[in-house]
Symmetry: C2
Subunit: 303 residues, 2 copies
């Protein structure tokens, strides 16, 4: 089935305890599309870049089945730029620079060829842009929305309007607490699901991910890794694996969303092992299945 | 099989966002013994208290199969007292008061009837006391040791000597990093297992627990709960469930230690739902098995 991805395509400067890279490829839509490309080959990218963005990166994505009809290229414009530095424990980071550049004018008008997309992954952006995309969809089967505390701080009403129109919300534990006003993730989940989405996925970084529905929950750990070099894009790689697996299997039952969460966690576990898209670009189905087996191993027990 | 528990028996003042209690019953050995008592009825408590400690609390434990030959009562002495206040997120706490009182003179000489104990749970205490207990054991089958960063700060050499003589070490993630000097829990685990223990259990509080051996790992989440009122004693309840289940089943294979970690997590999940021993005192096998099933539910998936 088709996947629509919406979000940033960016340049990043990243510093972690393991190194520093400059002007590498980043952006939510980039990570989502790369991760999803291991599952489906009808991915419809929706974003905006400047003419400074390297053509070969576009071509590499196109070779993986990612369509570019929805990618707006602004002549003489500059691509969105983000610079961040991770703390020693890599669970926290400081944003050093955010240059919106061409993103400032992003008004995603979907090409006609995108409007019938079935599986929708709305990367973190202003709630207004997310709503604008939702309004143009003719027959979506599942809409997943990612967001962050920043929009809760400055645009809570618009965010809640967006959330009321989706099926799955992905946020981290602190954001779930902020959005709901509840400390307990069980209570937070109840309140958030009452806002509209059928499912809530709480991303807990190195601690894993929690999937909640009205009456069920599922927890998958993050795979403990020998080396974590760069957490940038982990959440988006998770989202890409999730939406890609769901589109491939075309089954939105709780049982299948559980599997999708495991596939999402798997893609995130690859993402963090190298800077930028380093690892995500060189996977194959066998490598992914081998890692899925490791998730099975570390979570299985019999009574 | 027999369980030997060693650790503090205490009075606690506890403040959490959900309330404040004064001079309630606490102490590692108390929580360990209560939790273990749901699995075995030959528990050998080793601790020290003052004559101010309520007799009925001793009697309640005796009724659960906890032997008191190793409990030293100091006439006119005062029982160890701890006061703590939890931060809003309950993952952090400040210690407000630590009155060692009779604990200052604790030199655990095991009664002859204790020396052949099979399953040993050494609660958090000075490494010297833990070593002194190990030296008196005649034929232990499994020694589990709990400790904390405080001893890493002031008595690292003695702690490493203790760790070299045990089978299972239980610490939290920050302590695993401090003890090993490695940030990655996979690398930290390799270094710690090289110090002596066959197994390392990394307790991650609300994020669950990680069991590591030389070549295997297992992760169990903490059960997401509607209400967490008081985290005090959660780690010790985990330890009590762990050692109790292992003594009951008398099987120290990796597969069985996995199950013991799930039982430990289950006992911890009860502990935090009420202040002090409130919930731990009123369990029964059916309540425990029902909760174990919830752990199975939230962690199971099929590919």
């Amino acid at each position: 089935m088709s996947v629509l991805t919406v979000g940033t395509v960016a340049f990043d400067d990243i510093e972690t305890p393991f190194g520093r890279v400059e002007k590498v490829i980043g952006g939510a839509c980039t990570y989502i599309s790369w991760a999803a490309s291991y599952f489906v080959n009808d991915i419809r990218l929706t974003s905006i870049i400047g003419s400074d963005f390297p053509k070969e990166e576009i071509i590499a994505l196109e070779k993986r089945g990612v369509k570019m009809d929805g990618l707006k290229i602004i002549e003489d414009g500059l691509t969105f730029f983000w610079a961040g530095k991770y703390h020693d424990n890599m669970n926290k980071r400081d944003t050093l620079v955010t240059d919106l550049n061409v993103l400032d004018d992003f008004d995603p008008e979907l090409p006609d060829s995108y409007k019938d997309s079935k599986y929708i992954m709305l990367g973190n952006l202003t709630p207004d842009i997310q709503i604008r995309v939702i309004e143009q969809l003719t027959n979506p089967k599942l809409i997943v929305l990612d967001t962050m505390n920043f929009w809760m701080d400055i645009a809570m009403d618009r965010l809640k309007l967006a959330i009321s129109q989706i099926d799955v919300l992905t946020i981290n534990d602190e954001e779930a607490r902020q959005l709901s006003g509840e400390y307990s993730l069980v209570k937070a989940s109840e309140k958030i699901i009452a806002m509209g989405p059928k499912y809530l996925i709480i991303k807990k970084g190195e601690h894993g991910a929690l999937l909640m529905s009205k009456d069920k929950m599922f927890y998958v750990p993050a795979l403990p890794l020998s080396e974590v070099k760069d957490p940038t894009g982990a959440g988006d790689s998770f989202a890409g694996g999730l939406i890609g697996y769901l589109a491939k299997t075309d089954d939105i039952s709780f049982e299948n969303i559980k599997r999708a969460v495991v596939y999402g966690s798997t893609m995130a576990s690859f993402c963090v092992e190298e800077f930028s898209l380093g690892k995500l670009k060189k996977l194959n189905p066998q490598i992914i299945e081998d890692r899925i087996k490791r998730f099975v191993e570390i979570t299985s027990f019999s009574l």
